[in-house]
Amino acid sequence: MALVVLKGVTKAFRSRQGGEHIAVRDFDLELQPGELFCLLGTSGCGKTTVLNMVAGFEAPTAGVIELEGRAIAGPGRDRGVVFQGDDSLYEWLTALENVEFGLRLRGVPRRERHERARHYLDLVGLRGQEHKHPSELSGGMKQRIQIARVLANEPKMLLMDEPFGALDAQNRAVMQEELVKIWQATRKSVLFITHDIDEAVTLATRIGVMYAGPASRLKAVVEVNLGGARNRTDDRFLGYYKTVYAMIREEVEASLARQARGET
C-alpha cells in the first residue's frame, strides 16, 4: 500500500490583484514506503506547494491527499519537515535543545530525551556541538540540526524542501552523501523537493519531474536504479542526468516562451 496518495489535487491562490493563481492542477502522485522521492521542477512550478499540502500547512482547493489511507487534515508529527532556510530553528535553544524539542513537547523524561537527541546529533555528525546555539554554527551544521530534530521525533516520513539549496557546492555534496547514509540507516520515506537535476539523480530512488507552472502536475516519473553510493562521472549516472535534463530543458523553454508571450 502506498504511504502517501495525492489524487486530483488542485491548489489555487488568490492573488493580490484579486485574480486566481492556480499553482497545481489535477496533481497525482503515490509515494511508497521507504523510498526517497525527489520532486524536481523549474522555479515557480509549484513543487513547494505540493510539499506544503502534504505537510498540512496548506489545504488543497480540490482533490484528496492521504497518508496511510487517512486524509491529511493539518500538520502532524508523523510528517517531519526540513525547511530550506535556518529560520525554523529556535535560536534561543542549543543544538541539543532544538533536537529534543519534539520530545519535550510530549513530556519524554529529561534523561531519555537527552539520550535520544544525542544519538541523532551523532548520526548527523554534530557530536561535540550540542551545547552551541544555532548562531554559532555554519549553514551546513544548522541543516544538520534540522534533520536531527526531525529524526529524533520519529516521524513516518521526512518532507524536505530544498534543504541544501542555500549551501555552497562542497557543503551540498557532503550533505547529500550524509542524507543518503541517514536514509539507508533509517529507511524513512523521504519527499525531497529540488530544482537541481544533479541533486535529484544523486539522491532519488524515483524522480518526479513537474511541468513548468502554473497549473502544473507531474510530467514523468523516472525510476533511478543506481543503488547506494553513486558516482557522478559514471555513465549510467550521466544517462539518467541526460534523460531528466532533456525533460527539464523543455519546461524551461516552455516557461520562457510563455513569458515572452506575456503570460505568466
Binding site: 505537510a55 508529527r77 532556510g85 530553528l89 524539542f101 519534539g102 546555539h133
Partner: protein, 253 residues
C-alpha cells in the same frame, strides 16, 4: 583587561570630554552666574547629599518610576502578546493603542491631577500610561515578526497551540519585550520629571522647580546632573539584563 579598556575606556573618555566641554562653555564662553561650571555643581551636590535632600528626592522619583514602570510592563506584556497572537484582539485594541499613543503622558498630567490629586496615585497613573503603549506595541510587533517556519516546524513536531505560544512565541518575543521596556523606561523619566514639576511635594522635578523659584542655579544643575546619571545607570543595568537574558543569541544590545 584589553577588552575592559575598549569597553569602558571609551565611555570614560566620553564622560570626561563632556565635563571638559561643559567647563569650557561655562567658564570661557558664557561666563555667567546663570551657567555654573561642573566643579561648582559637584560641590553643591556634595552639600545636598550631606543634608539628605538629594538622596530623598532621588529616591522618591526613582520609586515612582520603578513602580509605575513595572506595573505598566506587567499590564502591557500580556496585552501585546494577545494582540500579536490573535487577529481579532488586535483589530479591537488597535484603535486604543493607535489613538492613545499620540496623546503624550505629559498632556495627561492635567487630568491625572484633577482625578487623583497631586499624590502618588497620579504619578503611578502617569508612569503606567507612559509605559504601557510602548511595551504593548513592541511586544505585539515581536510576536508578529516571528518567522512562519518556526511555527510550522513546531506544528510538524506535534505542538499544540498552547505549546506553540509557550515554547515558540513567548521566547521568540522576549528580546522585543525587553527592548520595549527599555524605551518605556526613557518615557517614564520624561514623564515623572514633568509631573513633579507641575504637581508634587517632593522628587527631582519638584527640586528643579523650587530651585528655579529661588534662582538657585547650582541646585537646578545638581538635579539635571542626577537625572542624567540616574538614567544612564538604569539603562546600563537594563542593557546588562537584556544581554544576560538574550545576548547569547540575539543582537538586541
Amino acid at each position: 583587561m584589553k577588552r575592559w579598556g575598549r569597553d569602558y575606556g571609551g565611555t570614560l573618555a566620553g564622560f570626561a570630554s563632556m565635563f571638559l566641554l561643559w567647563h569650557v562653555a561655562a567658564v570661557y564662553v558664557v561666563g555667567s552666574a546663570l551657567f555654573p561650571p561642573p566643579a561648582a555643581v559637584i560641590v553643591r551636590a556634595g552639600a545636598l547629599l550631606r543634608d539628605g535632600t538629594l538622596l530623598t528626592n532621588t529616591a522618591v522619583s526613582l520609586q515612582r518610576i520603578l513602580t509605575g514602570f513595572l506595573a505598566g510592563s506587567l499590564l502591557g506584556i500580556p496585552i501585546g502578546l494577545a494582540m500579536g497572537s490573535f487577529a481579532p484582539v488586535r483589530r479591537v485594541l488597535d484603535p486604543y493603542t493607535e489613538f492613545l499613543r499620540f496623546i503624550p503622558a505629559v498632556a495627561m498630567i492635567t487630568v491625572a491631577v484633577i482625578w487623583f490629586g497631586i499624590g502618588e496615585t497620579s504619578k503611578l497613573f502617569l508612569i503606567i500610561y507612559a509605559t504601557v503603549f510602548v511595551v504593548v506595541l513592541n511586544t505585539a510587533a515581536g510576536v508578529a515578526s516571528i518567522a512562519r517556519n518556526k511555527i510550522r516546524a513546531a506544528q510538524s513536531l506535534g505542538a499544540s497551540r498552547l505549546q506553540i505560544f509557550r515554547h515558540v512565541a513567548l521566547p521568540a518575543t522576549v528580546p522585543h519585550i525587553l527592548t520595549g521596556m527599555r524605551l518605556a523606561m526613557t518615557n517614564s523619566f520624561v514623564t515623572i520629571v514633568a509631573a513633579e514639576l507641575v504637581a508634587a511635594n517632593n522628587g527631582l522635578g519638584k527640586m528643579l522647580w523650587d530651585a528655579r523659584l529661588y534662582m538657585l542655579v547650582n541646585d537646578i544643575f545638581v538635579a539635571l546632573l542626577t537625572l542624567g546619571l540616574l538614567g544612564f545607570v538604569i539603562d546600563r543595568i537594563f542593557r546588562w539584563c537584556i544581554f544576560m537574558f538574550a545576548g547569547r543569541y540575539s543582537p538586541v544590545v
